[in-house]
């Protein structure tokens, strides 16, 4: 019992910390994304609320919370409200096994990678439920797209992650980080450049971000799967999207960019992890405001014709080299 408690308490602390971290990230990145978008289009972005609009996301959050929660007629109310929760809650869990420092880690599990991959696919399920239960044709179309998209992009993502774990022989993110200790030359991006590129592309697909935001597709499907959601129903999806972005970018920086290792020996720390993650997030935002949305057949073509064969070939080649 005592051992159980002593395990549980740090876990609860970690979960609360993850919640705060997620909330902060969502706030900051909503603001940063809007500012980035503004500057790319040579306008100031949010500007009026607080100095340079820094309070804007906070106020937006308040506004969202103040709105009425509506369940559409003939919608399946249970599934309808389960969906946003199902989208949001797993994200908290995903932050636990990510190592921000040698000690700064919620929970060092041996199967961290597996855990992250398994729980991140909950988002797909949540999107499907949301679209299906809304009793709305845009919702259903968005859900249908989401199924084919997330399922498709999960596969190359898995294959690239596998290549890294083949090389390290471990699924623990902490172990993988420690394999890249030392200087910048040890980072896996040099050993697995193709896997890195595939991971980045699949990351866009997995997190439903532009140019692959076809489940949402506000120009064709109004808002896709979350058309019917108001107030915090939408807010949770929104938070979850940012949460998944942060998780995916963190995983990417652990797998390929050395995690909390600095580029030179002796200067590692959590700030390196943050810098790398935020650089990747910046890339995602930058790409969103640069590329137009792809067509749905193009999206699937990219995946089935390019990412999947390349990822498979990369995996086989890695396996072969590791064996020799």
């Amino acid at each position: 019992m005592n051992a159980f408690l002593s395990n549980l308490i740090p876990l609860i602390i970690a979960a609360v910390a993850a919640m705060i971290w997620l909330g902060l990230n969502a706030l900051v990145w909503v603001y940063c994304e809007r500012k980035f978008a503004g500057h790319i289009q040579r306008r100031p972005g949010p500007f009026e609320v607080g100095p340079h609009g820094v309070l804007q996301p906070l106020i937006d959050g308040l506004k969202l919370m103040g709105k009425q929660l509506l369940t559409p007629d003939n919608a399946d109310a249970v599934l309808y409200w389960l969906a946003p929760l199902l989208s949001m809650l797993p994200v908290l869990l995903l932050f636990l096994p990510i190592p921000y420092g040698p000690v700064l880690i919620g929970m060092d599990v041996n199967l961290a990678l597996l855990l992250i991959l398994a729980f991140s696919s909950f988002n797909g399920l949540a999107v499907i439920l949301a679209g299906w239960a809304s009793n709305n044709k845009w919702g259903v179309l968005g859900a249908a797209r989401a199924v084919s998209q997330t399922v498709a992009y999960e596969i190359p993502l898995l294959l690239t992650v596998l290549t890294v774990s083949f090389m390290t022989g471990s699924l623990s993110l902490l172990d993988i980080t420690h394999m890249q200790d030392g200087h910048i030359g040890n980072w896996f991006i040099w050993k697995q450049p193709l896997a890195f590129i595939i991971f980045i592309i699949a990351m866009f697909g997995e997190t439903n971000r532009a140019p692959f935001d076809l489940a949402e597709a506000e120009s064709e499907l109004t808002a896709g799967f979350h058309t019917e959601y108001s107030s915090m129903g939408f807010g949770l999806f929104f938070m979850a999207e940012y949460g998944y972005m942060v998780v995916m970018c963190s995983v990417c920086s652990v797998l390929f960019l050395g995690g909390f290792n600095g580029p030179f020996p002796g200067i590692e720390g959590w700030w390196w992890m943050l810098i790398k993650t935020y650089a990747l997030l910046t890339l995602m935002v930058w790409a969103r405001w640069t590329f137009p949305r792809v067509r749905f057949d193009q999206l699937l073509n990219i995946n089935w014709k390019w990412l999947l064969p390349l990822a498979t070939a990369n995996l086989l080649a890695t396996a072969l080299i590791m064996k020799l």
Partner: protein
Amino acid sequence: MGKFKENVIQPLIDCWSLIVGLKITGKYFCKPLVTVHYPRQVIDDENLETYGGHVELIGKPKDPATPKCISCMMCVTNCPSKCLTVVKSKPPKLTAEEEAAMKAAEEAGEKVSKPKAPKNPAKFLYDYSLCSLCGTCIENCPAKSLKFSNNIYWVATSRKEMKIDLLARLKEQATELSAPVPKTEAVSAAAEKEA
């Protein structure tokens, strides 16, 4: 071989366009902003010139309070939205003495020309709430008497207010031109850039 090139080489080359795209947006990211923070700054004159607001009349160069318009009705017939109303001026009423003098002259066999109506319109009404700003009236005006205004700060709270008497507006503008320009508190964006 052609298939291979089309399906494999070309997409790889096309990937370069993604980098080019990022380069372009990255460049714009670093450039200074062009949006004006409206209530604190106002648009500078240079940018106002290219703004096409509602339609307005152009005054004669020597007499800025009267329009160049010759009441030909071309703008009214051509306006697809039917938002212009031009009323021609009537010839001036003759006084009794003048009429008598004219009659006498006519009887004497002289050629008399009745006074003609002035070409300037008596009324020139315009409904901005209907106008689609297509510019057809401006293109068709033989006297070149119409233009888009650069009246960017014009606000109305009802449809009624959007019906403008363009003749009155022209008169106002003419008197404003001779009057000193009122000083505004807001700084123009260009001036701020220099400072």
